[in-house]
């Protein structure tokens, strides 16, 4: 009996060794193509380019390691011109004509939602970096995975917590809110408003403006006029800049400002503002100095490939890179790049990315309370300042005056 057990154990061990040995000397698997529809022209083109940089870097890193489960990767990009019609056509074509093995997501909830319906028809897994508005998850689709540390509406929760943690004398007494009517910016601002009002911070101004607004000065004037201590803005990059510039012109110095996007776009934000980025906050799952899984390597590889400084890297690139990381880990876990198995694998377990650990619930929403942190510009670099567990520097409060 003991000897048979021993023999079985040896045989098992031998088989395992053989398997390990054979996988390292097996012939490389066939190269695969991963298809992505990106906004290279049109409204979202600035972000689209950053996504491409992130995806490309990930593919290069994967290929250097031997490929995704041995498959060398070619990335295929199609321009969706920031249009619904084109994004639907692109995924339709990439899946059924070009027969790509995998697909990654486009930019923004606006494009992710129509694309997700097409992708789900063919049973493909849809790991996406930029579609986190509530409507992404409530349509009954099970193949979507939003690769960011939190669902969009929770982005400002850390910030609300931070403000309410300040001693009563220091805490802002009033807050002004202005947000685009956009499925990304508005849910966050509204949730922050609810939390802050419950915590006793009076709302001095609250307005929603159309996403197609071109002239933000009157709104910014109104915010400045409210003389609120805290300013919470639901913006994309152009309005983030416009608000800041009007505040500077009006010599309006609130104690704290946070913008939902813009300050996380690296050089596109710091270029026009120069030293006046000082003290502006943004919710961020990622910062160049973060110590999350593989981030240091990501940042240095990015600079090697694309030049520039760490502070110029846009968060979109890190988000795209995370998508690749998640898919890589899921494929390793499932042992295959078959989409059905990937979808099953992704619904459980935790995945390590440059944005920190994350896991997905049954609708694809990121969960686990990792949360999104606060990033703040200090002396020309954007660093995590809250919570203390990830902070590289203490938060600057009140914000220094404009120069």
């Amino acid at each position: 009996m003991g000897r048979r057990l021993m023999a079985a154990a040896v045989a098992g061990l031998g088989l395992t060794v053989a398997a390990c040995g054979s996988s390292s000397t097996a012939a490389p698997a066939a190269p695969i193509t991963i298809g992505v529809s990106v906004s290279l022209t049109g409204d979202f083109s600035g972000d689209g380019k950053a996504l491409v940089q992130g995806y490309d870097l990930w593919a290069a890193d994967e290929n250097a390691k031997g490929g995704l489960l041995g498959h060398q990767i070619t990335m295929e990009y199609k321009d969706d011109a920031s249009s619904t019609q084109q994004v639907v056509t692109n995924y339709e074509n990439m899946i059924t004509v070009d027969k790509v093995a995998l697909v990654f997501g486009p930019f923004s909830s606006l494009l992710t939602i129509p694309a997700s319906t097409v992708v789900s028809r063919y049973g493909y897994a849809f790991a996406e970096p930029a579609g986190g508005g509530p409507s992404v998850f409530n349509r009954g689709l099970t193949n979507i995975f939003f690769v960011q540390p939190a669902a969009v509406e929770d982005n400002l929760v850390s910030y609300a917590k931070y403000l309410l943690s300040l001693p009563v004398g220091q805490r802002p007494a009033t807050a002004a809110y202005a947000t685009q009517d956009d499925p990304f910016t508005q849910p966050q601002v509204d949730k922050a408003k609810t939390l802050l009002e419950a915590g006793g911070i009076t709302t001095a101004y609250y307005h929603v403006y159309p996403a197609e607004t071109t002239d933000f000065s009157p709104i910014a004037l109104n915010v400045a006029n409210s003389k609120a201590d805290a300013v919470i803005l639901g913006t994309q990059l152009p309005d983030a800049l416009a608000f800041a510039q009007t505040f500077i012109q009006q010599h309006y110095n609130p104690k704290t400002i946070i913008e939902t996007t813009g300050p996380d776009q690296g050089a596109q934000f710091s270029g026009p503002l120069g030293a006046n980025t000082e003290g502006i906050m943004v919710p961020a799952g990622w910062t160049p100095a973060a110590t999350a899984y593989g981030n240091a390597k990501f940042v240095s590889a990015f600079i090697t490939k694309y030049g520039g400084a760490a502070a110029d890297i846009s968060a979109d690139s890190a988000e795209a890179y995370s998508v690749g990381q998640v898919v890589d880990q899921a494929a390793t876990k499932a042992g295959t790049i078959d989409n059905t198995k990937l979808i099953a694998a992704l619904h459980s377990g935790t995945y390590q990315t440059v944005q920190g650990p994350m896991s997905f619930d049954s609708t694809g929403k990121p969960q686990g309370g990792v949360g999104v942190y606060i990033e703040q510009w200090q002396s020309g670099a954007a660093v995590f300042v809250y919570p203390a567990t990830v902070a590289a520097a203490p938060p600057e409060y009140p914000k220094k005056n404009w120069q």
């Binding site: 990106v38 290279l40 022209t41 990009y77 199609k78 321009d79 969706d80 011109a81 249009s83 619904t84 019609q85 084109q86 639907v88 056509t89 692109n90 339709e92 074509n93 059924t96 004509v97 606006l110 939602i113 129509p114 319906t117 028809r121 063919y122 049973g123 508005g133 409507s135 349509r139 009954g140 685009q180 009517d181 956009d182 499925p183 508005q186 929603v208 159309p210 996403a211 197609e212």
Partner: protein, 335 residues
């Protein structure tokens, strides 16, 4: 058979062939990528034909038809949401209601806009389109605002999904073509052409120009609204800035101009050429960012080389060729 009769037989035969191919397309080319392009192409065939009823026959160039397109889309979406209609074939039955609603809107818009003429009319229609977009964005309680509006998603498989939409678009395109043909061969159509040629003279001669213009405008808009409804259902989710999109409005105009303003087959030809070309260009060259430049170049070449459009230029060419042949024939037989 006389040459005229022979030409007519050829024309009718050609049309029947095109119709047969269109009907059988999903069977001939069932892969989803092709049917997807077919859906959008047939959509533009319908849009171009509908626009031509106003722009081609009356000469009033509306650049705001995208507003009606988006309005029809929102109407259908809201109807489906309120009635709780299940996804599947039932929503297609509600499309005519979206058309009716768009017709009512067109009545109000047209009554106002048609008091202006020529270039002012063009820009007024643009203004109305932007107003509609604004309303869609700002009436958040009704339309969902910037967050968009969701359509129910039918549970059809990937291979079959596009086919019902293609047929819906085909039906609407045929309705549009039928209407266009009927108008063209009626006194109403004659009145519209008179308005195009010289509106004040037409009025002086007794054509009820305000009523005729408004009717053409309403018919055109209702068709566009219905097509917009099917479009919204096809892409399953709409946003104000994507469905009230000036690019859709200007594409349908370009297609009519390419094919031949005021003709019946012209808009069809224009759509059949431009839409697949645009999708193909965007797909293959979009990533290199030269897509826009190429598209613009195609545009410009078409307009400068064939300012009247393909169909009129082709029939001119044919007529001249026949005249030359007829002129030289007697000389040949005279000996």
């Amino acid at each position: 058979m006389s040459p005229v009769a022979r030409l007519n037989v050829l024309k009718v035969g050609g049309l029947l062939l095109v119709f047969a191919v269109a009907l059988a397309l999903p069977a001939l080319a069932p892969d989803p990528a092709t049917t997807n392009i077919a859906v959008f192409t047939m959509m533009y065939v319908g849009l171009a034909t509908a626009w031509n009823i106003m722009g081609g026959y009356t000469g009033y160039i509306s650049l705001g038809h995208a507003g009606f397109f988006g309005f029809g889309s929102y109407c259908l979406g809201l109807l489906l949401a309120h009635l709780g209609t299940a996804a599947g074939y039932a929503p297609f039955m509600l499309v005519p209601l979206a058309g009716l609603a768009t017709a009512i809107l067109a009545f109000a818009v047209g009554w106002f806009a048609l008091r202006t003429r020529a270039a002012t009319f063009v820009i007024v229609t643009i203004a109305f389109m932007f107003m509609l977009q604004l309303l869609a964005e700002n009436l958040v309680g009704l339309t969902g605002g910037g967050g968009g509006l969701s359509f129910p998603v039918p549970p059809w498989s990937g291979d079959y999904f596009n086919t019902p939409y293609y047929y819906a678009m085909l039906v609407l395109a045929l309705v549009g073509l039928g209407t266009s043909w009927l108008i063209r061969h009626s006194k109403f159509g004659l009145g519209l052409l008179a308005i195009r040629d010289d509106e004040d003279k037409a009025l002086a001669v007794g054509v009820p120009t305000p009523a005729f213009k408004l009717t053409a405008f309403i018919v055109s808009a209702a068709l566009v609204g219905m097509i917009g409804g099917v479009y919204g259902y096809y892409v399953t989710y709409i946003y104000p800035q994507f469905v009230v999109d000036p690019l859709i409005g200007i594409s349908m105009v370009l297609m009519v101009f390419l094919g031949g303003l005021g003709t019946i087959t012209g808009p069809v030809l224009g759509a059949l050429i431009l839409e697949p070309a645009q999708l193909w260009l965007a797909y293959n060259y979009g990533a290199s960012r030269l897509y826009l430049v190429l598209y613009a170049a195609v545009f410009l070449v078409v307009i400068l080389v064939l300012p009247r459009g393909i169909v009129p230029s082709a029939s001119d060419f044919l007529a001249r060729w026949r005249a030359k042949a007829a002129a030289s024939a007697p000389a040949a037989t005279r000996q």
